[in-house]
């Protein structure tokens, strides 16, 4: 009888424990670092047996559409959201996100890279924790550069890139001198060309929110882009985004590729890259105007204010973006797989610096990026490769289509810029800027 009572008591206790367990739903993208986080999340649940995790992994654009709908309507489907530096300032101002003010004593907020942290902070309040950060850089084939009789400087100019791309271009061998994004989209060709434009002295808007596409700086930028791609770019480059160019570079078809620093880990991975031991890195090019053509982005974890499990979500974010998590990834997967671009301590770690040949360039690129002063002239907006206003997704995609049309020759550079000017003016007028 006693045994039966004991079993009953145990059963009730187990049931009450199971009842007390909280399940948080995490929405994320299918990038390599997030997959690793999901794989290692058992470590978190073993440390926090009262918390269960449910994962929703989606393609970036679908995820953006879904979490935007949910957060705007206070649907409460997600407790942790993976969002980018574009969303954080907009959503934070709308009070759609919870301030991350309880990340724990050992979190060490001051260890976050200032450039990354400032993009996630509104009025001194942190609204998202960076999971990984990236800028953009030059990746090039050292063997082809040597064959061309050239040496890549650590900080090249756009003129040098054009010259080197032309010299490395060998269509008979199926090698294209330069691979750049051409696929239309605010996160695709617009990210690259806007960053380029900053180094040419162009800007999206003047201080009064007047679109600036009809300026010589934009014409120089787009003309350079179209010309250099015609000279040394791959066929059909208007369909190429990050992944397409990654595939071309990894299979030895690109001499130079300018794109996200996160690609450094992919192109030097011997398992997937045919050119892993022939890759060099340099800072994004400039034009001598004091700004380089590198962007700044980070994938961050944030809590929507509609979440009913804020404490559990905060604990998870604290774990996934901590120094301890970096150490865990290093122990289980190796230092090269640690999410880059968020913490100073990672770049002070000799083991990481040795394992990741692109680490110093990544750090330098991130540290020189300034979202509040992205270009040569003053601007009224925040953001380097984007403009952090809600209208940007729409106008960015529309402008990207004009740039893509200029690349394919459907439009001249002037026509594409005039068309961009008109459509951005129309949207800004409707949205009643300046506000």
């Amino acid at each position: 009888m006693k045994n039966k009572l004991l079993m009953l008591a145990c059963g009730i206790m187990a049931m009450s424990n199971a009842y007390a367990k909280e399940t948080i739903t995490i929405a994320t993208v299918n990038n390599g670092d997030m997959i690793t986080m999901k794989e290692l999340s058992n470590e978190f649940t073993s440390q926090h047996p009262d918390i269960d995790l449910k994962w929703v992994t989606l393609e970036e654009n679908i995820l953006r559409q879904r979490v935007t709908t949910d957060v705007a309507t206070k649907g409460g489907q997600y407790d942790v959201m993976t969002i980018g530096t574009y969303e954080v300032p907009i959503w934070g101002k709308q009070n759609w996100l919870t301030e991350l003010d309880n990340l724990g004593e050992n979190y060490d907020l001051d260890d976050l890279l200032p450039a990354i942290r400032s993009g996630l902070t509104i009025n001194d309040k942190l609204y998202a924790a960076p999971f990984y950060g990236e800028s953009s850089m030059v990746m090039y084939r050292t063997d082809l550069m040597e064959k061309a009789g050239l040496t890549m400087p650590k900080a090249p100019t756009w003129n040098f890139i054009r010259k080197a791309a032309k010299a490395m271009n060998d269509t008979k061998e199926g090698v294209f001198g330069l691979c750049l994004r051409g696929k239309a989209g605010w996160g695709e060709n617009v990210a690259l060309i806007t960053s380029m434009a900053n180094s040419f002295g162009a800007r999206w808007f003047d201080e009064n929110w007047k679109p600036q596409f009809n300026t010589p700086e934009w014409e120089n930028t787009l003309q350079y882009y179209v010309d250099v791609m015609k000279e040394s770019g791959p066929a059909g480059s208007s369909a190429n985004g990050f992944n397409e160019n990654l595939a071309l570079f990894q299979t030895g078809k690109c001499g130079i590729w300018i794109d996200a620093t996160v690609a450094g880990a992919f192109v030097t991975n011997k398992k997937d890259s045919e050119v892993a031991d022939k890759v060099g890195f340099a800072l994004a090019p400039d034009n001598g105007l004091g700004k380089r053509g590198n962007w700044l982005w980070s994938w961050t974890l944030a809590i929507p204010s509609s979440s009913k499990k804020q404490d559990a979500a905060m604990k998870f974010i604290s774990w996934a973006t901590s120094k301890e998590y970096s150490q865990l990834v290093a122990d289980k997967k190796g230092w090269a797989k640690v999410p880059p671009g968020t913490r100073k301590s990672l770049y002070n770690n000799p083991k990481y610096m040795e394992a990741a040949p692109f680490a110093q360039i990544t750090l330098d690129s991130i540290q020189t990026a300034d979202p509040k002063n992205p270009t040569v002239k003053p601007v009224p907006y925040v953001g380097i490769q984007f403009v952090a206003i809600p209208e940007f997704q729409g106008i960015g995609t529309a402008v990207g289509q004009q740039f893509s049309a200029a690349l394919t020759g459907q439009m001249t550079v002037k026509e594409a810029l005039n068309s961009s000017q008109r459509l951005v003016e129309r949207t800004m007028r409707k949205a009643r800027y300046p506000k």
């Binding site: 929405a27 992994t57 309507t73």
Partner: protein
């Protein structure tokens, strides 16, 4: 026409049919083949059709990383549930429109069809808010309701077309024999229109299975069907084409098998009344 000419035209038609079928099927075949490649072979600049090292690694990765069977079960419940619920509503609706017509019937049919012309994103926010307020977000019941409503115009139209081919006299005779409306529909109309009803059901199962707007927007972790499973393998930064192909193959194979076994029924139903 001579026998020789007839053979020649038959040969030409056969070649044309095989060529068109091959073109339609090739992307599916390519997806299936890619699913057995390594990621580096999947992005190779000189892709091999068969001469590569075949591997099941992608399938084991996908199965270990995602709860495939949960997604599969959700797809089954949503597509079958919405198709059956749709039939329950569409059969009486189509019956009344086919056999008890009024002056407004044609307008009503056109209005129903016109709802399909609206881009779904146009009603995204109202639907989302309704789902939130009724607690239907991320539930299979919610998706069954939405899928039913989305496909209802097509179901009614298809059934209406089939029913119009059935002579009214047969139904009148049953009424004269004292059949109620229910008996008329279930014992007289349905047996005659069974091929049409079966093809309507199958087509709607396929449409619901492949629907990838509402199923992605209205679900999170619990009710997500196979469309969400596929979407989870598409990456903005990283090459996972082989895994994406494996996930796609696992999502489409069940519906391909269903289509294969039911193709006679489907073709019979779709051509019902088309040839007199």
């Amino acid at each position: 026409m001579t026998i020789k000419d007839s053979r020649r035209s038959k040969l030409i038609y056969t070649i044309a049919a095989w060529t068109i079928s091959g073109m339609i099927f090739f992307p599916i075949l390519w997806t299936l083949i890619t699913s057995f490649k390594t990621e580096s072979e999947a992005i190779s600049a000189t892709p091999a059709l068969f001469a590569f090292e075949w591997t099941l690694e992608n399938y084991s990765d996908v199965l270990s990383r995602s709860p495939y069977f949960n997604h599969f079960w959700n797809s089954v419940v949503i597509s079958l549930g919405s198709s059956l619920l749709g039939l329950l509503i569409a059969v009486p609706a189509a019956w009344s429109m086919a056999f008890v017509q009024t002056k407004k019937t044609k307008h009503l049919l056109m209005w129903m069809l016109s709802t399909k012309m609206l881009p779904p994103v146009g009603v995204l926010i109202p639907i989302y808010l309704l789902f939130r307020d009724f607690g239907l977000l991320d539930t299979k019941l919610g998706l069954v309701i939405v899928m039913t409503l989305i496909n209802l115009p097509i179901m009614v139209w298809m059934l209406y077309t089939y029913f119009r081919e059935i002579p009214n006299e047969i139904l009148e005779a049953s009424r004269m024999d004292g059949a109620t409306i229910g008996e008329e529909i279930f014992h007289v109309l349905l047996p005659i229109a069974l091929p049409g009803i079966a093809s309507t059901l199958l087509l709607n199962v396929i449409l619901s299975w492949n629907e990838a707007f509402w199923t992605l927007i209205l679900t999170a972790a619990n009710a997500a069907p196979l469309t969400a499973f596929i979407a989870s393998y598409s990456s903005p930064e990283g090459l996972f084409y082989a895994k994406l192909s494996a996930a796609s193959a696992m999502a489409i194979v069940p519906i391909l098998i269903l289509g294969w076994f039911s193709q006679k029924q489907l073709v019979r139903g779709l051509s019902f009344g088309a040839v007199k």
